[in-house]
């Protein structure tokens, strides 16, 4: 499976300009041999991340956006030689007047396209510099889905900071976790790498190794009103090793070749996911089936109180 992770740097709110730029990137990728199977783009890749109230002006209807992407890919392809490709893209979604921070997985063919899955971000950061829940609604479902390339799951940015999310995605059968993200870089004390980038890398490697999954992380780039999106897109194999990574700054493409059979080899070597599948019902039962008093105690526990931002 040949993958391009596109680390893009949209112009804030300039949707048409950003779509044209994506068309130019498609033109660069569409003619390459061997063909790409999957192209992954970051969160909010066509608008920029911090939109505040402009979310309502710029949100996309998912079917219309998929059609636009399909047309863009076909227009960028060599004449009479459109190769099928899957595209993952993060975008603000208008679902009949309810707004989400979403990402979808679209399979594009020579004449049409099909949305295979839409994931609506479940964990909306609303603290410090983040204000998502003020403007968009929470997604309510985490699903793994079948694609032509195998079983996958999408997690958007903070979704992937909660260890239970990749865990449940893997339990539901995902072999590839795709993480579109927009992460403002911070922390310059450590030598050579932003602290926020290091944190991302550490948690993603840990999920990949524990569950035996590939992780494809696409980070937005560019500065948005002083907040620098810290790119650092990467691909991690099911052994937890980084296959390739991009710099924090600037627009780039990361090209990787993945063999999904590595998932079985990794899981045979370290069968933690199988162990978890056996024990998980007991673990979840201890959380959900306790007495009302126990649940109240849990929900009021200091560990669940929000700290200082």
């Amino acid at each position: 499976m040949k993958v391009a992770i596109v680390q893009s740097k949209p112009r804030k709110g300039q949707v048409e300009e950003n779509i044209a730029q994506l068309g130019a990137i498609f033109a660069q990728l569409a003619g390459e041999e061997p063909a790409y199977d999957l192209i992954v783009l970051p969160e909010a890749a066509l608008t920029g991340y911090f939109l505040e109230g402009a979310v309502y002006d710029l949100a996309f209807e998912s079917e219309a956006l998929a059609e636009r992407l399909g047309g863009l890919w076909r227009a960028a392809s060599p004449p009479r030689a459109v190769r099928p490709v899957a595209i993952v893209l993060g975008f603000y979604e208008n679902a009949g007047g309810t707004y989400y921070n979403s990402a979808f997985y679209v399979e594009i063919g020579s004449a049409s396209q099909r949305i295979v899955h839409v994931h609506r971000k479940m964990f909306l950061p609303t603290y410090g510099v983040f204000d998502e829940e003020r403007f968009v609604s929470r997604g309510r479902r985490l699903e793994a889905f079948e694609s032509r390339l195998g079983r996958m799951a999408l997690l958007i940015c903070e979704d992937a900071w909660h260890a239970i999310m990749p865990t449940l995605a893997a339990i539901k059968g995902a072999r590839v976790l795709i993480v579109p993200s927009a992460s403002p870089g911070r922390g310059f004390a450590a030598p050579g790498e932003l602290e926020s980038v290091r944190y991302w890398r550490d948690v993603l490697r840990s999920y990949a190794a524990e569950h035996g999954v590939f992780v494809l992380y696409a980070g937005l780039a560019g500065f948005e009103g002083g907040k620098g999106m810290a790119g650092s897109s990467c691909a991690i194999d099911p052994f937890g090793d980084v296959v390739g990574t991009l710099p924090a700054l600037g627009e780039h493409v990361l090209k990787v070749q993945l063999d999904l059979d590595d998932v079985e080899i990794a899981r045979a070597r370290l069968p933690l996911l199988g162990d978890l599948a056996a024990v998980l019902p007991d673990l979840l039962g201890s959380v959900s089936s306790g007495s009302a008093a126990q649940r109240a105690e849990l929900s009021g526990s200091p560990a669940l109180q929000r700290g200082e931002p």
Partner: protein
């Protein structure tokens, strides 16, 4: 007896910065904000002879090239001659453009009508005249004004409101003073500027640390703990003087207003920045 690893020392925030990483980041910030977002390619800044504006001049030169950086030396008749010399050392090191505009006539023209004005008022008038010059030169040169205020002076309220803080861009505003010093040494700012006692140079023999009543080294670490959410008692328990903790707390809590835009009476459900919300780069 077993060996004991003693890790009971109170933890103080480490304020070190990685110079190359930070310089590259701020260079990208200036390039994105000036060239990509605003479609211009020149910057203008006041060069005081102090370390903050020297660092900004170095960063702007990295981002835009020396020929696109317009430094202004803006002396008043009481300014220290050393300030002019130190500012010149920066210009010589970078090869950027530089012009001297003496603000004495403008400042004294107004103050001649306010002869009783004390040093604080006089200092604020000088700072505001410097900003007037900076913005007018911006219009003349087609260059974006770049600010030089650091996080310590912003948090301590040690600046003139709507003067030092008014340029549309500021690369240093989230760096404590001690971090600016570290960045300056990495960038190659002349050591004399990094080592000398920081001063607003609004009156003779003035130093920041004398005005503030605390060293930057102490103030920065106390501020870092306060911003992380520690109360005064917990900070003092980490070995800081309660008098200094109280001094910093008073300055921090007494100046929140200086870190905001003017307070507007909200009258509708479309009040700007209350209900009508658009990001600065939209």
């Amino acid at each position: 007896m077993l060996d004991v690893v003693d890790a009971t020392e109170p933890r103080i925030p480490a304020l070190g910065v990685d110079g190359p990483l930070l310089a590259q980041w701020l260079e990208a910030f200036l390039h994105d904000e000036i060239v990509v977002r605003r479609n211009t390619y020149r910057a203008v800044l006041g060069l005081s002879g102090g370390v903050d504006s020297a660092v900004v001049a170095f960063l702007c030169t990295r981002a835009l090239g020396a020929e696109n950086v317009h430094a202004l030396r803006l002396p008043y008749r009481t300014s220290s001659p050393d300030s002019l010399v130190d500012a010149q050392a920066v210009v010589d090191a970078l090869g950027c453009r530089c012009r001297d505009i003496d603000i004495t006539a403008a400042v004294d023209g107004y103050l001649s009508m306010e002869p009783e004005a004390d040093q604080r008022r006089r200092g604020n008038v000088m700072a505001r005249v410097r900003m007037l010059v900076l913005f007018d030169q911006s219009a003349k040169l087609g260059a974006l004004p770049v600010g030089t205020g650091n996080k310590t002076e912003r948090l301590m309220g040690y600046f003139t409101w709507h003067a030092d803080d008014s340029p549309p861009l500021n690369p240093l505003g989230d760096l404590f003073k001690t971090q600016v010093w570290e960045l300056a040494r990495y960038l190659g700012v002349p050591e004399r500027l990094v080592a000398k006692a920081p001063s607003a140079d609004l009156q003779a023999d003035q130093t920041d640390e004398g005005d503030l009543g605390i060293t930057y080294a102490q103030a920065d670490r106390i501020l870092a703990l306060m911003l992380a959410g520690y109360n005064d008692a917990k900070i003092a328990a980490r070995g800081f003087e309660p008098r200094e903790v109280a001094l910093v707390r008073e300055r921090l809590d007494g100046t929140h207003w200086k870190r905001h835009l003017p307070t507007t009476a909200m009258l509708s459900n479309t009040a700007i920045n209350e209900f009508y919300l658009r990001p600065v780069d939209f």
